[in-house]
């Protein structure tokens, strides 16, 4: 060990459930006083790798060195003792506790008085420019405040190796800027920082070095100064930036799905959607872009009748859907198909086989008391054959299938009902490249059939390549609807951060 690394991973391997290889002999080095960006697509194994450094998962192979010594990180306590702190993407906070108590959980020593604790927190906060009210309860906090608490938790423990898992996914641009300033300050103090992201501009802005993972394998480590976004993309995706997703030309039919003035209030009284208006034409794919939690979920659920809305209207070929239950909407005759984000928790029944999952949307349509499984079985066989679904059989519980196959089952069923409108939410999340392309093809196939497709996405490159137009949501508001063919990622990025479109560009 010639050079003393903060962390060095050699040949780390992790296999989930004996079948999914999330990390395959991954190597990684991190120095003190640097910010390392860990770059990779969804499902490339970034989070898995970091979870092994923070003691959440145990590696199935390979060795980890911290400060040059081989270590076994069996639990978060071990990680903490080694000075490693992780800020998880899904915050690990106790909702009913104050910021202060959340910071105190699991720390060594006696419980401090609130006054002392407040003082200590203030000290750390001012050193790094963090802002948080120590007495505020987590359930009263905004996302960025929660993140600040998470960072404070790590700093309070005196960690000098910090791991941040997609910290900017939930932040506004201003908040991101602030976070980056804080991270740079920490680096200058000599801390070692890993930031997981798949946003290239952020990588360029914040990092000193970049390590790229692809399909669970380490591909390359480069100095940020010696690379650019294009090269990084190539490393990340493995082939040229041209995603080569088809965008077939079709005849557009007006007025298939028309949403106007839609407003939705969430469970906590927050406005989740504000005056949203748009149209999806038959034979077009309308993409929806936005930072996570901008109202995408509410939009899908309002259209499909799963949540009520107080203002506005949703029209499906002249039929008003407002006030209708999901059951009534299903029975209109013109069908809306919906592939929800939570495939196993909402779109399918995870404990049932493909056959019984086929029945979900149609079982009540046959007369009589009894259920008719014969057509469902035939449909299951047909889908398995047509979409090349890998499964031991039609009765194997779908939770045992891989993510790509689960999505094929779900999307296949939804397409099977010959819908007029198809809504898909994060259709390729967690899927490998091949499965993703299979899904894109299915969406295009529907588009060519004249279906109006509303596609909620997160990868801007994909949205730009696949969709005809893209609607951008920010904090529940539409900040623009653009033509995908002559829009750049940067333009989309600006809209996502709430900078509204100029009037001229608005008409498409």
């Amino acid at each position: 060990m010639s050079e003393q690394y903060a962390i060095e991973c050699r040949g780390i391997t992790k296999i989930f459930g004996g079948k999914v290889t999330a990390n395959d002999h991954v190597d990684l080095q991190l120095k003190f006083g640097e910010i390392l960006a860990l770059l990779g697509e969804n499902g490339s194994g970034k989070t898995t790798l970091m979870n092994m450094l923070s003691g959440i998962y145990r590696p199935d192979g390979g060795t980890i060195f911290v400060r040059g010594e081989e270590v076994f990180i069996n639990s978060p306590v071990d990680a903490m003792n080694l000075g490693i702190g992780m800020i998880h993407q899904h915050f690990k906070l106790v909702n009913v506790f104050s910021a202060m108590d959340n910071i105190a959980i699991g720390t060594k020593g006696r419980r401090l008085s609130t006054a002392k604790m407040r003082e200590k927190i203030r000290e750390i906060s001012s050193r790094f420019g963090l802002e948080v009210d120590p007495d505020k309860k987590i359930y009263d906090m905004s996302v960025s405040e929660k993140q600040t608490v998470e960072i404070l938790k790590v700093l309070y423990r005196g960690s000098d190796i910090l791991i941040l898992d997609e910290p900017t996914a939930v932040l506004t641009p201003q908040e991101t800027e602030k976070l980056f300033a804080i991270l740079k300050k920490m680096r200058d103090e000599g801390k070692a920082i890993i930031i997981i992201t798949h946003k290239l501009n952020e990588v360029m802005e914040i990092s000193d070095r970049v390590s790229v993972l692809r399909k669970g394998k380490s591909v390359a480590s480069v100095n940020t100064a010696e690379t650019d976004e294009l090269k990084l993309t190539e490393l990340m995706v493995g082939h040229s930036v041209d995603l080569s997703i088809r965008r077939p030309e079709t005849d557009k039919k007006d007025g298939v799905l028309k949403v106007s003035g839609l407003s939705v209030t969430g469970a906590e009284g927050m406005k989740m959607l504000k005056d949203v208006s748009f149209e999806v034409k038959g034979g077009e794919i309308l993409g929806v872009a936005g930072v996570a939690g901008s109202g995408q979920k509410e939009l899908c659920e309002a259209i499909t009748g799963l949540i009520p809305f107080e203002q506005g209207s949703v029209k499906l070929e002249d039929t008003e859907l407002k006030g209708k239950s999901p059951f009534e909407i299903l029975n209109l005759g013109v069908s809306i198909s919906f592939v929800p984000e939570d495939r196993l928790g909402m779109g399918l029944v995870s404990s049932m086989g493909i056959t019984d999952n086929m029945l979900l949307r149609t079982y009540y349509k046959t007369p009589g008391l009894f259920i008719d499984r014969k057509p469902a079985k035939e449909m299951a066989d047909k889908l398995i054959d047509r979409l090349q679904i890998l499964t031991p059989g039609t009765e194997t519980p779908v939770r045992l299938l891989s993510g790509g196959n689960v999505q094929k089952v779900l999307l296949g069923r939804e397409i099977e009902s010959a819908p007029r409108v198809l809504i898909t939410a994060y259709a390729v999340r967690g899927l490998d490249i091949n499965s993703s392309y299979a899904i894109y093809d299915l969406l295009n196939e529907q588009k060519e059939k004249g279906v109006a497709v509303l596609n909620i996405g997160e990868d801007l490159d994909v949205l730009l390549a696949l969709c005809d137009r893209i609607l951008v949501l920010c904090h529940g508001e539409v900040t623009g609807i653009v033509d995908a063919k002559n829009t750049t990622k940067e333009q989309l990025g600006l809209l996502m951060t709430g900078i509204k479109q100029e009037k001229e560009a608005a008409h498409v």
């Binding site: 923070s54 959440i56 998962y57 639990s75 978060p76 306590v77 903490m80 992780m86 998880h88 690990k92 906070l93 106790v94 909702n95 009913v96 506790f97 108590d101 959340n102 105190a104 959980i105 699991g106 720390t107 020593g109 006696r110 419980r111 309860k137 359930y139 938790k153 423990r157």
Partner: protein, 318 residues
């Protein structure tokens, strides 16, 4: 005046086994385990406390036995639910059936061997578990009766409750434990030994339930063994946890209020108020059912069941 003093004293005594059961269950639910085995753990404590008292004639040893036996029952539950991640409801129910069954098997076994046809605690231990008398203090009228002349269990229960409250409110470990019940993943990521603390709390909670069980034979039944001696108190204790909003100090007065309900029928003038006895027996359960509904109607975040209660935690679950 005298009537009220008698009534309150009786309510406190009747509420004491409930206090133990409630504290034990609070310790379980605070680490996220809805343990429906309270009745079973109390039964186990009852028979162990009784048998050891019967054989050794020593109150302290009997108490230790009751604690250990309740704790042993809880340990089985903990192994099954914490390590083997089984369903809490079913595991708890099984513990209750198992605990009552085992208690009766042992009880009848020794009953069969006794010559008199009854099992009764010997003289010395009966003296030790009798109400205390502190010269001077206990003789103060009213106050002495209300505060200084209970059996040792009453004071033990209150001390337990206060200690538990201090633990939750004043110590780091207590904070960690509450965090486990609310969000085990958060506690784990913060470096709390989730599994170890779950075991500790469930097992000690079971031990406290066991002492409450011993009370039912030693005090309520005057030291004579009967089958099914706990008689549903464990279930009331589960309900009382809700009444106490998972706070040990609330458990004290909650237990005494429920104790009052249990003995109400003996203190109401039946000449004036014609309500059948069955109604009084039903009262604690009826009140709890109503409280359950009221609690669910007005959802207060800080007064709800620990958020992770009833779910198992596996670190690698995403």
């Amino acid at each position: 005046m005298n009537f009220w003093v008698n009534f309150i004293v009786a309510a406190v005594v009747a509420g004491t086994p409930l206090l133990f059961g409630t504290l034990g269950e609070i310790m379980n639910e605070r680490v996220g385990h809805l343990n429906l085995g309270v009745e079973g753990m109390m039964s186990l404590g009852a028979i162990a406390g009784f048998m050891v008292g019967y054989k050794t004639d020593n109150f302290a040893l009997a108490m230790i036995a009751a604690f250990l036996s309740g704790a042993a029952g809880a340990l089985v539950y903990a192994v099954v639910t914490v390590t083997f991640m089984a369903n809490h409801t079913v595991a708890g129910l099984t513990l209750t059936i198992f605990g009552i069954g085992l208690t009766n098997v042992i009880g009848f076994h020794y009953l069969g061997m006794s010559e008199s046809g009854t099992l009764k605690l010997p003289e010395q231990i009966t003296q030790q578990m009798r109400s205390i008398h502190i010269e001077g203090l206990s003789d103060i009228p009213v106050i002495g009766d209300l505060l200084f002349q209970y059996n040792p269990f009453v004071y033990l229960g209150i001390v337990f409750a206060i200690l538990l409250a201090l633990f939750y409110n004043r110590t780091k470990a207590g904070l960690n434990v509450i965090a486990i019940g609310e969000n085990p993943a958060a506690a784990d990521a913060a470096g709390v030994h989730v599994t170890a603390w779950k075991y500790v709390n469930i097992v000690i909670g079971g031990g406290i339930c066991g002492i409450g069980g011993a009370f039912t034979i030693m005090i309520t039944n005057g030291g004579v063994w009967i089958s099914d001696c706990v008689g549903g108190l464990g279930w009331i204790a589960v309900a009382l946890v809700i009444f106490a909003t998972w706070k040990p100090m609330n458990a004290i007065w909650g237990a005494f209020v429920f104790g009052a309900m249990r003995i109400l029928k003996y203190y109401v003038n039946k000449e004036i108020i014609h309500i059948p006895d069955a109604f009084y027996d039903m009262l604690p359960f009826l009140v709890t059912a109503i409280i359950l509904v009221v609690v669910s109607v007005r959802q207060v975040k800080d007064k709800a069941q620990p958020a992770a209660c009833g779910t198992n935690y596996f670190r690698e679950d995403r």
